[in-house]
Amino acid sequence: MMDTIADPVREGVARGWRVIDASTLTGDLTLEADVVIVGTGAGGGTAAEILAEAGLSVVLVEEGPLKSSSDFRMRESDAYPELYQESGARRTRDKAISILQGRCVGGGTTVNWTSSFRTPDATLAYWQRALGLAGFTPADLAPWFARMEARLSIAPWDVAPNANNAALARGATRIGISSGTIRRNVKGCWNLGYCGMGCPTNAKQSMLVTTIPGALARGATLVTHARAAAFTWHGDRVEALECLAMDARGTRPTSRRVAIRARAYVAAAGAIGTPALLLRSRVPDPHGVVGRRTFLHPTLVSAALMPERIEGYSGAPQTVYSDHYLDSLPLDGPMGFKLEAPPIHPMLTAITLPNHGDTHARRMRELPHLQVVLAILRDGFHADSPGGTVTLAGDGTPVLDYPLSPYLWEGARRAFAAMAEIQFAAGAKSVFPVHGDGVEFTSAAAARAAIENFDLRPLATPIVSAHVMGGAPLGADPRHAACDPQGRFHHLANLHVMDGSLFPTSIGANPQLSIYGIVAKLASGLAATLRG
């Protein structure tokens, strides 16, 4: 019965959208356009539609495959290798942080959990006050957020939360802290719970089913399975983008090349991919800012056993949040954190739960009763939170070094304590912070005492990230910023960055709407310049 659900992407391709799968090329390819955009995620997708609507010819370059609703079978074993960077196994240099990033047409928006927040006022105020960034106040950005909220059907989610999210709300209320309902970019959502594996019903208004079809319908060209190797540049101008065709699995280059010449070049490959592309291109970087200050929202996980069935694999995965531990601390004080809930599917749960053998197997058998809370640390606002650095490995692929400081671990300790307190208040029989060999607690007092003495350290305390930001930050001063406030690279006149790399700190909330709004503003500026 899957065929009763329309697949707008396959239909568009059948109607004649210009889509080139570089893995099938039998010769080298040269393309020309007004603008070439590297990456098809929140930044690239948003920019593509705005530039194409302005009447400009656009080429989109994507390293991953074009997959759409007919391909999305809600199987983790398919989704992670097909749709995620490095099969979902990307990690920081020392392997201490796992990074979930999309790698497919639509990028992270194809696999994210739909959480939509405008950039917090406090974050924008910090950018203005501490970093001198003008033009990005809440009032400046409000029309751009409103535009993208309308485009992507971002609206309050009025359906009751699933039991996993409901437990977070209940626990928060019982300990007397505020929580709220997350707005989502969905239209006619079936409340299935499989957003992270690609939406099988096209309810999620990802780039895959909105802006990219919008751009393709206006004549844009999409090249998939093409890795942007480097920009070639001379003087202050980029002259071409050189790409390597990848094999169908997307792991190794074939011998085919794609060269694209354009008037303007947009890097939107995500906050690891964009800095890596700039570094491979050896762009002028006199102050060494490219790839620096990369932020992750390092995330801690706390699991609990509830007496009732939770079935965290079912229902919209992320619908409740609490900002209490962000709002109750000064932005540049001790590390604050946002609380949210994740989907609880077998594979992701099994690799996240510590230990092995009978302990692990027993917990997996309790999957339907498992309740999980996430604490998303807000990094980048304090001298002891400088973020990480993207460099290149010998084969030119990116490596992110993200040192874990005592400042961060102090935040992690408070986060574990807060999550355990909330989970017990919500009725948990036991709580096991995901740390060490996974010892569990049956009372809030025992958990609190033990967490106080946890030996928190890399690779004993798993940290995950689904939000990579920074590395090519906005700012008027080239000593600290890679891009000017219009998103143009400071040292090359026709090179622009339009993705989460632009953020000078982390966002302090799930970043997709921040990327949409800010890129909509910058892409509209670029469109006006190129038309003028």
Binding site: M1, M2, R75, P81, K95, T251, A350, N355, D358
Partner: protein, 174 residues
């Protein structure tokens, strides 16, 4: 430890790790990407221990489950970036050396002949090591095995997961 700290300079892998020292060793197979013989031996030895309590009790079903787990691991490794594949294969090359097995599991038995106790000791030492890169190696092995088994629908009945919903049925009832 018999191997010196200098030898234990680790680089990483697929959620993983490996020894730089192993890069200096002749490879048993060319770095083609998928799991090599050394890797297959390691994974075949550790999978039943990591998954103790999770696999079916029936010997026939258990054998099939383990075979499918190894096939899925091979597929996962083949899908990794070449650099991560190389790092994993370096780890497997190192673990093929008797001194490394002695250092980590107090046994010189080959992986094929290692006892369950040997493998448990090996995994516990990695998991609890003070050396971050040994813990990274544990993480990599844990992730490969757990993902391979729990991504398999055979694993789901025992954990109460009924699998993805049937969209056709869902559509008719909604």
């Amino acid at each position: 430890m018999i191997l010196s700290r200098r030898t234990f300079i680790f680089v990483g892998a697929a959620g993983a790790a490996a020894l730089v020292a192993a890069r200096l060793l002749p490879r048993t197979t060319p770095p083609s990407g998928a799991l090599d013989a050394a890797g297959t031996a390691v994974m075949a030895a550790i999978a039943p221990v990591l998954l103790a309590g999770a696999l079916p009790a029936d010997p026939k079903l258990r054998g099939e489950a383990l075979r499918e787990t190894l096939v899925a691991i091979e597929g996962a490794v083949a899908g990794l970036a070449p650099r991560a594949q190389g790092e994993l294969n370096d780890l497997f090359s190192l673990l093929a050396l008797a001194p490394a097995r002695w250092s980590l599991a107090r046994t010189t038995a080959s992986w094929q002949d290692a006892s369950r106790d040997d493998v448990e000791r090996f995994l516990d030492r990695l998991r609890d090591s003070r050396i971050g890169l040994l813990r990274a190696a544990y993480d990599a092995l844990h992730q490969l095995v757990m993902a391979a088994w729990y991504g398999n629908p055979r694993a789901w009945p025992a954990i109460g997961y009924s699998g993805p919903p049937d969209l056709g049925a869902r559509e008719r009832t909604s």
